[in-house]
């Protein structure tokens, strides 16, 4: 949605008026080029969404088979404590993890852009590197490091004769997950901010310097407003990502089976409903409710973020 507004400005100017014949031909050729994408998109995006909506209106009972139940599944989902627990958990996760991650990313981007770092291009590449690491590998590395057996936590305990709190215990596992996700995506967000900072016209900084603005003042009054669009986009993508939290808890679950339950996040809940419990109709309903909630929050953030501009 944001992308749409931003990109509309980048759109080419409307072409000159053309004859009806030319327009008809152009339409055919245009669809010819776009057709393959649209066809596959319909198959793997639109058809499943339609099918999920259809599924959510039915219920599969042991006795009596599949029957139409209207909106009953939705009523169940909205009063399902297991769903709400998971939703609150990812809500808490996103309130803490997203600001921390974006804050670090922004600071590093500003530092690199300031031209005051030694080895700035090394920083840029090295901080981005974890983005190339699969979520599975990232979760395994951190999961092992968290471990008391041969992990760093165990090493520190042995070396100093202390007992650190177990990062995989139920009370700390959410923070431990937040750390993994932050590690994976801090560089990606840094790069988005840095790319936005790079296209800010340097003449703005000169003007500010002539007006006697210090470095922090330039950051606050020139740089941050100039990259507002990138900040909003990164926030929205991070929110969507948090609501979809699945890979990291799913893998860490094997290392911390007591701390990460099958309904730890809404997506884990949907997955276990569907593939362990065979409750496809109800799983589809929970997934749709989650999608709607995500879209509403992302849209609200976009409206608020853009209005201040």
């Amino acid at each position: 949605m944001t992308l749409l507004t931003t990109s509309a400005q980048a759109a080419p100017p409307p072409p000159r008026p053309r004859s009806r014949f030319r327009l008809r031909k152009e339409a055919w050729v245009g669809w010819g080029f776009a057709g393959p994408f649209v066809a596959v998109f319909g198959l793997v995006f639109l058809a499943p969404i339609g099918y999920a909506l259809y599924l959510s209106l039915f219920r599969d009972r042991l006795i009596g088979g599949t029957s139409f139940v209207g909106l009953d599944n939705y009523a169940d989902a909205l009063t399902d404590p297991r769903f709400w627990d998971g939703l609150l958990r990812v809500g808490l996760f996103l309130l803490v993890q997203v600001p921390v991650m974006l804050g670090i990313a922004l600071l590093v981007a500003l530092a690199i852009d300031s031209g005051r770092l030694y080895g700035a291009s090394f920083f840029r590449v090295a901080v981005f590197l974890p983005y190339a690491v699969p979520a599975v590998v990232a979760s395994l590395i951190w999961g092992f490091m968290y471990g008391t057996q041969f992990g760093l936590v165990g090493n520190v305990n042995d070396a100093l004769g202390v007992t650190l709190p177990d990062p995989l215990s139920p009370s700390l596992v959410l923070a431990s997950l937040g750390n993994i996700v932050t590690w994976e995506f801090v560089g990606y967000n840094m790069l988005i901010f840095y790319s936005a900072l790079k296209v800010v016209p340097r003449s703005l900084y000169e003007a500010a310097a002539i007006d006697g603005a210090g470095e922090w003042r330039v950051v606050r009054s020139v740089k941050l407003p100039a990259i507002r669009g990138a900040l909003v986009i990164a926030t929205i993508f991070s929110i969507i990502g948090s609501f979809q939290l699945f890979n990291e808890p799913s893998i860490l679950q094997k290392l911390a089976p007591n701390a990460i339950t099958s309904d730890f996040t809404p997506n884990l809940y949907t997955y276990s409903l569907s593939f362990a419990g065979q409750q496809h109709n109800y799983a589809a309903t929970v997934a749709i409710v989650m999608g709607v909630i995500t879209a509403i929050i992302a849209y609200t953030v976009q409206l608020r973020g853009m209005r201040k501009g």
Binding site: W31, F37, Y118, V137, V186, Y205, G229
Partner: protein, 322 residues
């Protein structure tokens, strides 16, 4: 692979402004690497405290990778007995790699080949579709153009799992689950790639050039291949790179679609080894998981470092166009 990795990393600091050169430049008007500007109050000399603070973040991002590299050199006993951030008495990297590749009749190699298949077909196909679609959206006026764009961008907000269950049921009905198709077909769509190519094509391909080709009697396909495609190359490589990472790292899609270990990609395979090691009675193959993890990330990290130029400029062109 390891050699390319090291030399590419070494390339990073090499193009960074060298402190002495920078200091010399501060007195002259020799343009610095950073921009066309001479060194001014706006373009100050590097600061040691700031570098140290940013260095903490660097330490944070590199620490787990260092841990992985160090622990891939240990055998099972070394993993348990030695300090995590230093080497054990003996270095077993080569032995570990051999055992990872041959364990269970070389199943890791099978997973690697599967991953390569998914990446080649999925990411390659996704790039082709995105380039064609983006070019069409940018350079042709046709009915439904705006609608395509709005729907595709709106779909980005739909959670993956919302699609997973119905996609699984649909593919299962078509007999596609447990086959490579179930992983490849959904990988073919990259909304981000389409968006990037749209913005890129709008700027990189002048409409006048296409008009001139048409007046010269060139057909639309020929115009695309001989004129537009070469101009679209940098954007195309960026989309290919990001699709490759997405496919190489994919976990959720194969998790629901593939039950047969013979069709696992590397990510599912490592997950299966981890599950086995955590199960009572299962063979504890922690050394293989660690080495396998290292082998899984080396190719994709190498590709990333070698093609830096592309993803850095690609992101700049696409995601934050203001």
């Amino acid at each position: 692979m390891t050699t390319t990795l090291t030399s590419a990393t070494a390339g990073g600091p090499a193009d960074a402004p060298r402190p002495t050169a920078a200091r010399a430049a501060s007195r002259t008007t020799v343009p610095t690497r950073r921009g066309r500007l001479p060194r001014t109050p706006l373009n100050p000399r590097p600061s040691i405290p700031l570098t140290l603070v940013a260095g903490l973040v660097l330490l944070y991002t590199l620490l787990p990778l260092a841990w992985l590299l160090i622990n891939a050199t240990k055998d099972q006993k070394g993993l348990l007995d030695s300090f995590g951030l230093w080497f054990a008495d003996d270095v077993n990297l080569w032995d570990n790699i051999t055992r990872t590749l041959t364990y269970d009749d070389g199943v890791f190699v099978r997973w690697l080949l599967n991953t390569l298949l998914y990446v080649a077909a999925g990411a390659g196909g996704a790039t082709v579709l995105a380039v064609l679609g983006g070019y069409a959206l940018a350079k042709y006026q046709f009915p439904g153009r705006k609608a395509i764009f709005a729907v595709v961008i709106g779909a980005v907000a739909v959670p993956g799992t919302a699609l997973a269950v119905p996609t699984f049921l649909m593919f299962s009905g078509m007999g596609l689950t447990n086959t490579p198709w179930a992983v490849i077909i959904p990988s073919l769509i990259s909304p981000f790639g389409l968006y990037l190519m749209w913005v890129f094509a709008a700027e990189a391909v002048p409409t006048e050039l296409l008009e001139a080709a048409r007046i010269d009697g060139s057909g639309e396909l020929r115009t695309f291949f001989t004129i537009a495609l070469p101009l679209l190359m940098p954007g195309t490589v960026t989309v290919l790179l990001f699709s490759m990472v997405a496919t190489w790292n994919n976990y959720f899609l194969p998790l629901i679609m593939i039950k047969d270990p013979d069709w696992y990609p590397l990510t599912l395979g490592l997950n299966a080894w981890n599950a086995q090691a955590q199960t009572a009675g299962g063979e504890a193959v922690f050394d293989l998981i660690v080495t396998g993890s290292l082998l899984t990330i080396v190719p994709i990290v190498a590709v990333f470092l070698l093609l830096q130029r592309f993803w850095q400029s690609g992101l700049a062109a696409g995601s934050v166009k203001e």
